[in-house]
Every structure is written in structure tokens, then in C-alpha cells.
């Protein structure tokens, strides 16, 4: 029996009729065509499917779409403001934090929730925050450097706004 649910994805509200066994990853990818959310394992090990759900990073493959009913979700497609990249995205590009790119969307979203919670994280805090996002290409170093740089950049921006 399909269920009618409401998801707020990247600030847009969607009414969706979904089978109760479908995961949030599947509904985001197949029904909403938000293909930036990747599936690397389907069982919550790799973090490639990370999205932000009510402000927290979650493995969308471990959440049924019906469980997300009424929730606010941000996917990688909602991170940039039109043509303006988020400072984390800019830093990922500038610091060479991207290779194959398959982990990148999830990695960016985990980093984003970290910096929203903790604008000035230590290296260990950064590494802990992305420890659920596997990357086989980079050895993580440039990702960590990028997140550090983004945190500095965002702080500066905030200071400017305060002035």
C-alpha cells in the first residue's frame, strides 16, 4: 500500500506517493531526480548517500522515505546558491579535495553540518565528522585541508557581516 508523504527538499515542498519499503536514497534519486546523492553500499557503511535531514547528516539509504515524512532535507543540489558555490564547495575545488567525486556530495554535506555546529573545528573534529564518509581516492588529507580552509573563510565572512 503506497503512502502519501510530504518532503521538504532543498526548500521545496513535495507531495509524494511512495511504497513503504523504498529508501530515502531511492526516492530522492528516482522520484525527484536528485542524482547527486550516491549509493555506494546501500547498508549505511560508506556515507556516499549522506543528506542533511532536519539539520543532521544521515545515511539516506538507511531511512525509509516514509520515515522522513514532514522532514526538511538538503541534498548536494541544494548547497550552492545558484551559481555561487558554498565556501566548502569552493575549498574542495581549490584544495584538490576531489578525485573520482563519488564520495564528494556526502563529504560536503557532512562537512557543512559540522561547520554549522562547530564553526572552528580542530583537525581531529573534522576527521571525526567525516569518518563515516569513506573515500578511497584521496587519503582524506586534501579534504581535511579544504574543510579547515572553508571554516576560516566562513568565519571571515561572518566577521565582515558583523562589522
Amino acid at each position: 500500500m503506497k503512502k502519501l508523504i510530504n518532503l521538504i527538499v532543498n526548500n521545496k515542498s513535495y507531495e509524494l506517493l511512495v511504497a513503504p519499503n523504498r529508501t530515502l536514497t531511492q526516492v530522492l534519486r528516482e522520484d525527484l531526480n536528485l542524482l547527486g546523492t550516491k549509493e555506494g553500499c546501500g547498508i549505511g557503511d560508506c556515507g556516499a548517500c549522506t543528506v542533511i535531514l532536519n539539520g543532521r547528516p544521515v545515511n539516506s539509504c538507511l531511512i525509509l522515505a516514509v520515515q522522513a515524512n514532514g522532514c526538511e532535507i538538503q541534498t548536494i543540489e541544494g548547497v550552492a546558491d545558484g551559481k555561487n558555490l558554498h565556501p566548502i564547495q569552493e575549498a574542495f575545488i581549490d584544495y584538490g579535495a576531489i578525485q573520482c567525486g563519488f564520495c564528494t556530495p556526502g563529504m560536503v554535506l557532512s562537512a557543512k553540518t559540522l561547520l554549522e555546529r562547530n564553526p572552528n573545528p580542530s583537525e581531529l573534529e573534522i576527521r571525526e565528522a567525516i569518518s563515516g564518509n569513506l573515500c578511497r581516492c584521496t587519503g582524506y588529507q586534501k579534504i581535511v585541508e579544504a574543510i579547515k580552509a572553508a571554516s576560516k573563510k566562513m568565519k571571515k565572512k561572518e566577521e565582515r557581516l558583523d562589522e
Binding site: C41, D94, G96, C100, F102, C103, G139, Y140
Partner: protein, 786 residues
């Protein structure tokens, strides 16, 4: 600083924007109208005769459009090397590992396809299961492939010099054994594909592969479609590291199902299927006997190796050669003997994985060299420095080291790690160790015997002269080839990086053997450079005629025409350009003639400006059997220092820091080179400390998940001090050679040697689990007590 404008910089990747916004499309992201979904039936048994396959129930399910077995697919044998075509699309006589493919279903949705596959009934007669090489080789063992009665699928016997005699001349000789475990590629993107066979008889296959060219050839052979009617397109690929360097069953099955149904068919592997398809690192059993002179000269190496190959050969013939041929090369070793055996077992097939064939051998030997250095009382770095080869030398097995910055690598790591104050002087439980690495920069020969070019490239200028379209069939799999090739094109043509638009990864764009054996930068780079130079000379020729200036008095740089002598009046060209582009957004002003204007004039004169390039290696050394594996136009080398902490109470090893120097010839993109080094070290650290595909007694994988098969997380990897050594390779484009695979080589032995420095134990079996280290420490204490 170099005179170059584009290369040797840290320009961002061409695909960075697409990847960081989620716009980059991978095979599983693709879909087509009217598409069907495919699913596989795979064997639950590791070794059994197939008595009967009944697909009638599966065919009866609503929504099922096709069910295929060997009866529909035929039994044409294929594989990687034509010398061992031992695979068929589907099993017909027997199954050889848990996961062997038996049938495929196409249905209107994935759930229906899965359900139908589960209803296919197969009757088996079980056969004995062989899960290690020694059982498989035993007298009386049932052959896994009838053609190989003792289950030895490939063997190599090579001797250079006279090892037995040489060992007699040695001051110190020792023998050590070493074994690693089967490592999984661990790339994040599972294989996926979408096949579409259209009404005109053309097959288009979108697939997650490292080698569109080889996939095209095998599909042509197995499905009997002419090469020219097959287009293999590689979208963005989420990592490969070797296991994606050959055709897989879903590529063949989706193509067959699409041919039969006339509809697009999509197939996606789940993570368990990725582990089952495998093609990752072999398990190697090495026995090494090394002899040295009293002064520390490495004199002779006798090496025997058994490779656990799994059920099919895949890349295995190359692997069994590489395991021996690469080992001695960095050192001035005159006598080397190698006996290698690749053995079939009832496990998933092993193949090529980063550092193909050489990683376990290097780990084993570099640890043994550390032991020998200590026995001789020589510092391990000094010991290597005494023995390493230099540029221009030729190894005993005929590898021509046309550039070789090994000495520079060793000196760099020593300088940047405070080695002298740390080696042997750190507190108990802390240790420092080092090792060297060596790898080919592109296989010297294609996998099939052929005079083919290894890489071709084509550059086409847009008619307004503003965009340089670069076409190459090279495979961007995350390593950054699109970026590096765009940079090479821009530099060689004299335009800006952002003016180059790269089209890659499709067999329609040319011939390229693909992303394996660390070959894209050197080989495709050559082809691209040549194509760019061709286009450049075409534009300059037209300009020369038009302005009446000799070509040699002009150049193109940074998107402008450079007049080397007097200032030139080019107002006529500019006014033509302006006239032709009246009302266009982009108008050209300024006091310099742009490439864009010159290219437009060239187009008006000659039509579309197209330049091509093609590369294959020149004559390479080695006339002996097997010389085709290991010979390469160039060789990369590296040296590494690792510091570890060993918990004396538990045996747990933590890698604290890594210093890595790699000779990549010349860094086209410095950020990418560092990224390859850091990524390689991470994969090496995982293989050293915890990666192991485990099997139960029936041959089923116990840990086919990233939860149970652990790859390094951000908390496992330390920061790496990356040092780029540039030796300027004469056979590489702009002096460039490999970094993608060679960088993994020193990591495992450097960790092993650091553990010895920390706690005084030698570990001869990977992974270096806490348990192994703890037991070794206890064993040592017990011996000491006696």
C-alpha cells in the same frame, strides 16, 4: 620556475565544479525511456557441475521480458589476455566460485527482475572446493579448468645472470617468506551499466569502466557485433584501481538483453556483487633468498611465488610476471631468478590492482633488505643509496631507466623526516622505517598482440576560434586524466586552460587502451601534445601566409599570437573578425592578436581545423620470454618513511606520520600528483593494517561489506608530507611519467620496518593486526626469557 604557462601548476580539476555540485553523472545515474532493469543469478556454490537449469518459472512472472543463460548467450570464451580466455558470459558446464554468473533477467523493474532470478532453478553436483593454492595443486585435485590439470593456470621461470653461483659468492645470504591477503579494490562506485541496442543494429553501452577500448573488443567478439557498431561510453567513474580494467558480466548481459528485447537495459551491482566480481589484489606467497657482499652490495635474488588467482585468469598472466619482474629493478642487482605460479582456486578471480603484481613482493623484499642492512650494520637508507640505480642504467632484465630519481627520493625523505635523529633512537613502542618503490609508466605492449597505437587524440577548433575541443578515448576514473590532458593540450597549443573543452572516455573519440598500468599521462599525453602541435602549426601556417611573416617568427602563448620580431599590423584580421561576429557578445579588443582571431582566419581559409596525434612506445628492451610484461617507456620510483606507535599491551599499530618522495618525471598538475601519492599511501596503509577478504570453508565471502571489510577512514590516515621529485623523463610528454600506482609500493614495507624499529618484531603475514603484533611481541619475550 618553469617557462610553462599551464602545466606544472595547481590548476583546479576540469570536472571539479560538476563533482562538487552533484551534477557529474555516473553510470548508475543514467536512464532511458522504456528502459528495462536487469538482475543476475549467481552461484551459491564454490565448485559444482551444472546438471540442469530451469528458467520456466522465471519466465512466467508478469513484467519479465527476457531470461538468458548460456543457451542464449553462447559459450564464446573471453577474458583479459587472449592467452587465457577462460571465462564465458554465463556458466554452462560448472560453477567455479560463489558468485559465478549463471543467468540474467530483464524486467520492467528491478524488484521483478530480482524475483524472477531467484526462481531460476539450477541442479548441481557438488565438487571439492579449493580455497588455497596448496590444496588446489595437490595430486589428485579436481581441475577447476580442464585444460590445467594441476590447477596451475600460468607459470613463469626467468633467470638473469647465474643466481646459484652468485649466491655462493655472497658474504651473507638469507631466506624469508611472506604472505599477504586478498585485497578488494574498495572503490566507492559499484559497477553499473546501461546498454541500448537500437533498431539500426548499433549498440551503445554506458559503463563504469577503466578500459572502454577493451570492453568494446570483447563485446564485439562475444556478441558478434562489428567493432564499428559498438560504442562504449564511460561516464564519470567512481574509482577503479584496477578491478574495472576488464569487461564484466553485467556489461555483456545488459548488451545481450538489449539486443534481444530491443529496449535499453540497465544493470547495477550491489556492494556484495562488487566483492564477488573482485578482480582485486591476488594473495601472494613469496619466498625470497637474497645474497649480499660484505660491503653491502646486493648481489643475487632468488624468488619463488605462488599466486592465489581465484576461479579465472583475468589479468593474472601479467600479474604473475609483474610479481617477479619489477622487484630487482631499482637496485644494481646482476643475478635474479624468479619462479612464479598462478594457481586457480574456487574464489572470486583476482586481477590487476594498484601496483599490479608488485606490492606484496615489494613489501616482502624491502623488509628483508631492512633485516640485511641491520645484519651488515649499515643504515637502511645508506644501504639503498649504495645499491640504487641511476638514470641511463639498464636493469638485469633489460628495463631502460631513461630517468630515475631514486637517489633524490631517498635523500629527500631523509632530509624531511629527521631520520638521523630518530632511527633507532625513538622510545620503546615508537618506530621509524623506510622503503623504496618502483613501477612501470604504462605497459609497453597492449593486452592483445597488435601493432595498434596505444593512444590517439584529436583536436578540433570551434569555428569562432574560441574553443579547443579535445577528443580522447582516455578513461577519467578519478585520477585526473581529463585535467592533465586538457593542461597538456593548452600548453602545447598555447591557449588558456579554460579554452580547452575535453571529450573523453568514448570509443567514438579514438583508440585508447585506457586507465591501467599508469599509462594515461605518458601515453595519451603524447598523443594530445602531438595533436595540439599539429593544430598550432596549421593556424600559424595560415597566419604566416596572411601576414607574410615566417612561421618561425611567430608563436602562440596564453591565447595570444606572439610576434617574436617587429610589431605586426594585424588590423585587417581584427576587422574581419569583428565584421563576422557583429552583434556577438564577445568582442575582441586590445593590442595583441588573439589565438581566437587567428583560428577564425584559419577556419575561413581551410574549413574546420582538426589535428590528430597518436602514440605507441618505440622499441623496448628484452627479447626473453615474458619481456612484454614489465617493459615500459619509463619507470617511476619512490621512497618513503613512516613513523608508527605500537601499543605494547595490545599490539595495535597506529601510523603517526608518512613522508613520501615520488619521482613522477615532471608534475603536469602538482595538486593531482600529491593526490595520487596520498591516495596510494592510504590504500597501502589499509592493505598493511586491516584489509582482508575472508572466506568461510565453503568459499563464501564472510565480509563483503565496508562495515566488515575495513578500508581506511579519515581517522586512520595521518597527514602525508609529499615531496615531488622531477627527473625529466625523456620518453614522457614534457618529461612526465607515472605516479598513480608506483606511489603505493613503499608503504607496506615502510610500516613493517617502522614496527620493527618500535618493538623489534618482524611480521611476515598481512594484515598487521594487533593480534599478530601482540603474539610476535610475546614470542620474542619468551625467547629472550630462555
Amino acid at each position: 620556475m618553469s617557462d610553462y604557462s599551464v602545466i606544472n601548476t595547481r590548476l583546479p580539476r576540469v570536472d571539479a565544479w560538476l563533482k562538487v555540485t552533484g551534477e557529474a553523472r555516473y553510470a548508475a545515474d543514467l536512464s532511458m525511456p522504456n528502459m528495462l532493469y536487469g538482475a543476475l543469478l549467481q552461484s551459491p556454490l564454490a565448485h559444482a557441475k551444472i546438471l540442469n537449469i530451469d528458467t520456466s518459472k522465471a519466465k512466467g512472472i508478469a513484467g519479465v521480458k527476457d531470461v538468458v543463460t548460456y543457451k542464449e548467450a553462447g559459450t564464446i570464451h573471453y577474458g583479459v589476455s587472449p592467452a587465457r580466455y577462460d571465462e564465458t558470459m554465463f556458466c554452462y558446464d560448472k560453477v567455479r566460485y560463489v558468485g559465478d554468473e549463471i543467468a540474467a533477467v530483464a524486467a520492467v523493474d528491478f524488484e521483478t527482475a530480482l524475483e524472477a532470478a531467484s526462481l531460476i532453478k539450477v541442479d548441481y553436483e557438488e565438487l571439492p572446493v579449493y580455497l588455497n593454492v596448496f590444496d588446489a595443486m595437490k595430486e589428485g585435485a579436481v581441475p577447476i579448468h580442464d585444460e590445467y590439470p594441476n590447477n596451475i593456470g600460468a607459470e613463469v621461470h626467468q633467470e638473469f645472470g647465474n643466481v646459484d653461483e652468485a649466491l655462493k659468492e655472497c658474504y651473507y645470504v638469507r631466506t624469508d617468506r611472506f604472505v599477504n591477503k586478498k585485497q578488494d579494490g574498495g572503490f566507492l562506485e559499484p559497477q553499473a551499466c546501461l546498454a541500448h541496442y537500437d533498431a539500426n543494429g548499433y549498440l551503445t553501452l554506458y559503463t563504469s569502466t577503466q578500459v572502454p577500448h577493451y570492453v568494446q573488443r570483447i563485446i564485439s567478439m562475444v556478441l558478434n557485433i562489428p567493432i564499428g557498431k559498438i560504442r562504449v561510453i564511460k561516464p564519470y567513474v567512481g574509482g577503479g584501481f584496477g578491478p574495472k580494467a576488464g569487461v564484466n558480466t553485467i556489461e555483456l548481459a545488459a548488451s545481450l538483453l538489449s539486443m534481444r528485447t530491443g529496449r535499453p537495459v540497465k544493470m547495477v551491482m550491489n556492494r556484495e556483487q562488487v566483492f564477488l566480481h573482485s578482480r582485486g589484489r591476488h594473495q601472494f606467497y613469496h619466498e625470497l633468498t637474497t645474497g649480499v657482499k660484505k660491503d653491502g652490495t646486493i648481489h643475487a635474488l632468488k624468488h619463488t611465488c605462488y599466486l592465489d588467482g581465484g576461479a579465472y585468469t583475468s589479468f593474472g598472466i601479467a600479474t604473475v610476471y609483474y610479481a617477479g619482474s619489477l622487484l630487482g629493478a631499482p637496485y644494481r642487482l646482476q643475478h635474479m631468478k624468479y619462479d612464479g605460479y598462478r594457481v586457480y582456486t574456487n574464489k572470486p578471480a583476482c586481477g590487476a590492482q594498484r601496483g599490479h603484481g608488485g606490492v606484496a613482493a615489494r613489501a616482502a623484499w624491502e623488509q628483508q633488505l631492512d633485516i640485511i642492512a641491520e645484519e651488515l650494520g649499515i643504515d637502511p637508507i645508506d644501504f639503498r643509496l649504495k645499491n640504487v640505480r641511476e638514470k641511463g642504467e639498464v636493469t638485469c632484465n633489460d628495463f631502460n631507466l631513461s630517468s630515475f630519481g631514486m637517489k633524490e627520493c631517498l635523500e629527500a625523505i631523509r632530509e624531511h623526516s629527521d631520520w638521523k635523529n630518530k632511527k633507532g633512537k625513538l622510545p620503546k613502542g615508537k618506530g621509524i622505517g623506510m622503503a623504496c618503490g618502483f613501477f612501470v609508466s604504462g605497459a609497453g605492449y597492449p593486452i592483445y598482440r597488435s601493432e595498434t597505437y596505444h593512444s590517439t587524440a584529436m583536436i578540433k577548433l570551434s569555428e569562432d576560434g574560441g574553443t579547443v575541443d579535445l577528443y580522447t578515448a582516455a578513461a577519467e576514473i578519478g585520477q585526473g586524466s581529463d585535467t592533465v590532458l586538457s593542461m597538456i593540450a593548452a600548453e602545447a597549443l598555447g591557449v588558456r586552460y579554460e579554452d580547452v573543452k575535453i571529450f573523453s572516455g568514448s570509443t567514438d573519440y579514438g583508440v585508447d587502451l585506457g586507465a591501467y598500468s599508469s599509462r594515461q599521462t605518458l601515453m595519451t599525453g603524447h598523443a594530445v601534445k602531438q595533436a595540439a602541435e599539429n593544430v598550432k602549426s596549421q593556424v600559424l601556417e595560415v597566419l604566416s601566409k596572411r601576414l607574410d611573416i615566417p612561421i618561425e617568427d611567430m608563436d602562440i602563448k596564453d591565447g595570444f599570437i606572439v610576434f617574436k620580431k617587429d610589431p605586426v599590423d594585424f588590423s585587417e584580421i581584427r576587422s574581419i573578425y569583428i565584421k563576422e561576429h557583429r552583434g556577438w557578445a564577445q568582442q575582441l579588443t586590445g593590442d595583441r592578436l588573439t589565438f581566437q582571431e587567428a583560428a577564425r582566419i584559419a577556419y575561413l581559409e581551410k574549413g574546420t581545423i582538426v589535428g590528430t596525434g597518436a602514440y605507441k612506445p618505440g622499441e623496448l628492451g628484452g627479447k626473453y620470454k615474458g619481456a612484454t610484461v614489465g617493459t615500459s617507456p619509463a619507470y617511476g620510483c619512490s621512497a618513503q618513511i613512516v613513523e608508527v606507535t605500537v601499543d605494547m599491551d595490545t599490539g595495535k599499530v597506529t601510523v603517526d606520520s608518512m613522508t613520501d618522495a615520488h619521482d613522477c618525471g615532471f608534475a603536469i598538475n602538482r595538486t593531482n600528483v600529491e593526490g595520487q601519492m596520498q591516495g596510494s599511501l592510504s590504500m597501502g596503509l589499509g592493505e598493511a593494517l586491516f584489509e582482508e577478504v575472508k572466506f568461510d570453508e565453503k568459499g563464501k565471502i564472510l565480509n563483503p561489506t565496508f562495515g566488515e571489510y575495513r578500508i581506511p577512514t579519515a581517522l586512520d590516515m595521518p597527514n602525508v608530507n609529499t615531496i615531488i621529485i622531477e627527473s625529466n623523463e625523456p620518453n614522457g610528454p614534457f618529461g612526465a611519467k607515472e605516479v598513480g600506482e608506483g606511489a603505493i609500493m613503499p608503504t607496506i614495507p615502510a610500516i613493517l620496518n617502522a614496527i620493527y624499529d618500535a618493538v623489534g618484531v618482524r611480521i611476515n603475514e598481512l594484515p598487521i593486526t594487533a593480534e599478530r603484533v601482540y603474539n610476535a611481541i610475546k614470542e620474542k619475550e619468551k625467547k629472550k626469557g630462555k
